[in-house]
Symmetry: C2
Subunit: 84 residues, 2 copies
């Protein structure tokens, strides 16, 4: 039960960050290194979940991957491509 609440919290925590980045376009305080490592890591968690056939690991990391990728996308966009 605690594990389930933990999984829901850590998975959904990236939603408010993604919304904030989309709304404010303010990514200066966000670490590019963090999101490169994190998105790569979450993708590997997803692959690991498929390897061990564990649906919670697959599902939680698939959702986290989507939202963390959105944050990384905007970070890369506003760091390298769009001058504000």
């Amino acid at each position: 039960m605690i594990g389930t609440i933990a999984a829901v919290l850590t998975t959904l925590s990236f939603v408010p960050q993604a919304i904030q980045v989309i709304k404010t376009k303010d990514t200066s305080g966000i670490s590019l290194g963090m999101y490169v490592m994190f998105v790569t890591g979450v993708f590997l968690w997803f692959v690991h979940g498929i390897n061990i056939g564990d649906f919670p690991v697959i599902g939680a990391n698939a959702i986290t991957f989507i939202f963390a990728s959105i944050i990384l996308f905007y970070k890369v966009k506003y760091t390298f491509f769009v001058k504000k």
Copy 2:
């Protein structure tokens, strides 16, 4: 093996973010909601690890908790207590 690399990446990804926040004091782009949810979730993962007696879950979440807490601490500090 993929699971180990995944765990190392997602655990250590918060290190560059913590360093950036400490150095730049720029937390405007960081979501308070994200870190409140995330730190709470990681703490519950840690408790879950103790409950199931799984050392990798305990260790990875203990480390993540430390770095994510540092980020949350600075976010709260610069949002509510220190006007820049």
